[in-house]
């Protein structure tokens, strides 16, 4: 395992070292020590490497990740895994606002709780939160899956499009045009796979599914009061 010590090198060197890894690199295992809550750690990676951050991070950890697997042995600040394309980010602690925002692909696992706007504008990413999520999560969520093993806050799925939202616990309130939907066998299969990949022992049958009622897909003045 290669070690990068942020007590000795700056952020630029951290990211440029990781960016230098190509698809065929044989240095596939990395650890970052002393992250000290730094922002933009391991952003823009594009190689099949595994990076373990030993501590908590600031904003945008793993932003725009492709291919890499990033483990965070702590909590993450706002915008973790924002716009992730592929790969995986596993957070042992909690996540601040906007986790997985606009993500296009890959898997984000948060083993603690996630704050507000988790999965905002998600575009294909899969997000599994072992704990609870805050208000306005999955706002304008376009596609992908958001799995919440705990409870969801206010206005879940407000103005969402085709994203699938699975919640095991309670939902404080649903946002505009979001409704409870039938859980069909194919959804149970999706859930089973995601829960396994996220190392969760929750059972698919314990979840409810939510998604767009599709009433606001095309503007209609009669719906103006719904916004």
């Amino acid at each position: 395992m290669q070690t990068i010590d942020m007590a000795k090198v700056d952020l630029r060197e951290v990211n440029s070292t990781l960016h230098a890894q190509k698809d065929d690199t044989n240095q596939t295992s990395w650890e970052i020590v002393n992250p000290k809550g730094s922002h933009a750690i391991a952003v823009g990676l594009d190689a099949p490497i595994e990076v373990t951050v030993r501590g908590s991070t600031g904003y945008y950890c793993g932003g725009m990740n492709k291919q890499a697997t990033i483990n965070v042995e702590g909590s993450v600040g706002p915008g973790a895994a924002e716009n992730m394309m592929s790969g995986a980010i596993i957070v042992e602690g909690d996540a601040s606002q906007y986790a997985g925002a606009t993500g296009h692909g890959g898997l984000l696992v948060i083993k603690g709780n996630a704050s507000s706007r988790c999965g905002i504008s998600m575009k294909g990413i899969d997000i599994v939160v072992h704990g609870d999520i805050g208000h306005m999560s999955a706002f304008m969520a376009q596609s992908g899956n958001l799995v919440v093993c705990g409870d969801a806050g206010d206005a879940l799925g407000d103005s969402c499009y085709e994203a699938r939202l699975f919640v095991r616990g309670s939902v404080k309130s649903l946002g505009a045009d979001c409704e409870k939907k039938e859980m069909r066998p194919e959804h149970l299969e999706i859930l089973k796979d995601l829960l396994e990949r996220a190392s969760s022992d929750a059972k698919p049958e314990e979840f409810n599914r939510y998604g767009s009622a599709r009433n606001l897909y095309n503007f209609d003045v009669d719906n103006a009061g719904a916004y």
Partner: protein, 448 residues
């Protein structure tokens, strides 16, 4: 029909008087609203008359300063954008760039033409909401990639292909507003690029999903620089609504370039009430922004691009004399391509409008084939010819600006200064911070 000027007993009628408040235009708005129950949505920028560059004049040379010979002495036009932090600033032959306009709002061939024309003129073009298309990248040697709240089509590969990144906070036509691409313009390709089903309205958020405020913006800029290895300039585009403070905050957040867009700047579609009633005229936003740059010691270090209603080389020269490093054009570029051309008059009439007034770009029925995704209409537009026309237009803008600069004795467009200008109206003098013509009075300065 003849209106009788007296009644049956011979008493004269007063002349029928139209209201200055309830004009025919206003009344038609009321009738449309009463019939539909929905506000009017359109494209373009503010159509109302606001103080603008036509209210300024250049003084030219005289005994106190001498001019440069128009056909012999050089007047430079080059500009370098992004000199503050980027390892690879953008070097342009002319200080006139093409503003961001999305694939989706515009057809693929129209985007290609913008790239071709800008490239031939030695300047940059800009993507828009919806991401980067191969045609656009392929035909633009200098391409600015917009980073927008919707993040439609956003990916790190395209980000790294860009020659600059423009973080869009707002635009002059709708400061504080998001956007909407109506379902009728969502073709298979547009839908795929935006990760949404075909045919549904696609909303573009009014603010970014993962940051709010200048402190967050500074960290967002750091992230984008880290992803792109600090190579390319990062612009911050804001509506010119609060130019002093927004410019200050953009600089403090780490921007290489600030783009300010006045209310005459166009949009693909938003509410008419928004376009006409929110924001400030382009003329009014330049001096406060330059003041912010100067107060921070960053004028000419962080470059300022001004957009919103730039039409001629005189407008270019005036914006630069007031302190801009470059300008951006959008609506004028579309007109150069063939938008609102009189040759389509009969078809504009069919759509209930006329040449010069067509602004229902969001409906996707543009007779000129520019603001549409309809294959038959798109086929009317030749991107090679469109590119040639845009190149010609950019060349004329540059020649006109050089003509004025030489007349003021300047060997570079950047050497134009406010002292080369006077204003025709009190309002314009106050907004531009230059004397009212025939006086040494600058309203708002000197205690009165």
């Amino acid at each position: 029909m003849t209106i009788k000027d007296h009644d049956e007993s011979g008493i004269p009628h007063t002349t029928p008087r139209q209201s200055a408040t309830f004009t025919n235009d206003v009344n038609s708005d009321i009738r449309r609203a009463a019939a539909t129950g929905i506000y009017d949505i359109r494209g373009g920028g503010a159509k109302r008359k606001v103080p603008n560059f036509d209210d300024l004049l250049f003084l030219g040379a005289s005994i106190s300063r001498y001019p440069l010979e128009g056909y012999r002495e050089k007047c430079e036009t080059k500009v370098t954008l992004g000199t503050r932090f980027a390892k690879k600033p953008i070097e342009l032959d002319i200080p006139i760039t093409i503003a961001g306009m999305s694939f989706g709002a515009l057809s693929g061939p129209a985007k290609e033409a913008l790239g071709r024309g800008a490239d031939a003129a030695g300047t940059s073009t800009t993507t828009g909401d919806g991401g980067m298309t191969p045609e656009e990248r392929g035909h633009s040697s200098k391409l600015v990639y917009q980073y927008l709240p919707s993040r439609y089509g956003m990916n790190p590969d395209d980000l790294r292909k860009a020659d600059a990144i423009e973080i869009v906070v707002g635009q002059g036509a709708k400061p504080g507003g998001g956007g909407m691409l109506l379902g009728q313009k969502i073709s298979d390709r547009v839908a795929e690029m935006r990760n949404l089903p075909k045919g549904i309205d696609q909303r573009s958020s009014c603010r970014h999903p993962d940051w709010t405020g200048p402190d967050d913006l500074e960290i967002k800029i750091l992230e984008l620089r880290e992803i792109t290895n600090w190579l390319v300039p990062i612009y911050v585009k804001v509506a010119g609504a609060r130019p002093y403070y927004d410019t200050t905050l953009a600089i403090k957040s780490g921007a290489d370039v600030v783009v300010l867009d006045g209310m005459q700047g166009g949009t693909a579609a938003t509410q008419d009430v928004f376009i006409e009633h929110v924001g400030q005229p382009t003329l009014a936003i330049i001096r406060p922004a330059v003041q912010a740059l100067q107060d921070l010691g960053m004028h000419r270090k962080v470059q300022l691009i001004i957009s919103g209603g730039i039409r001629s080389g005189a407008d270019v020269a005036k914006a630069m004399a007031l302190g801009a490093d470059a300008v951006a054009i959008g609506t004028a570029a579309l007109i150069a391509l063939g938008d609102n051309d009189p040759k389509w008059e009969s078809e504009y009439n069919e759509l209930g409008t006329t040449t010069g007034a067509y602004d229902d770009w969001h409906e996707g029925r543009d007779p000129a084939g520019i603001t549409t995704q309809d294959p038959e209409l798109m086929a009317r537009f030749d991107p090679v010819e469109g590119g040639r026309r845009l190149r010609n237009y950019l060349k004329v803008l540059t020649l006109e600006a050089q003509t004025i600069a030489r007349a003021c004795g300047k060997n570079h467009l950047h050497n134009l200064e406010p002292e080369d200008l006077c204003a025709l109206t009190v309002e314009a003098a106050a907004m531009a911070g230059v004397p009212l013509s025939g006086t040494n009075w600058i309203p708002g300065q000197g205690g009165y």
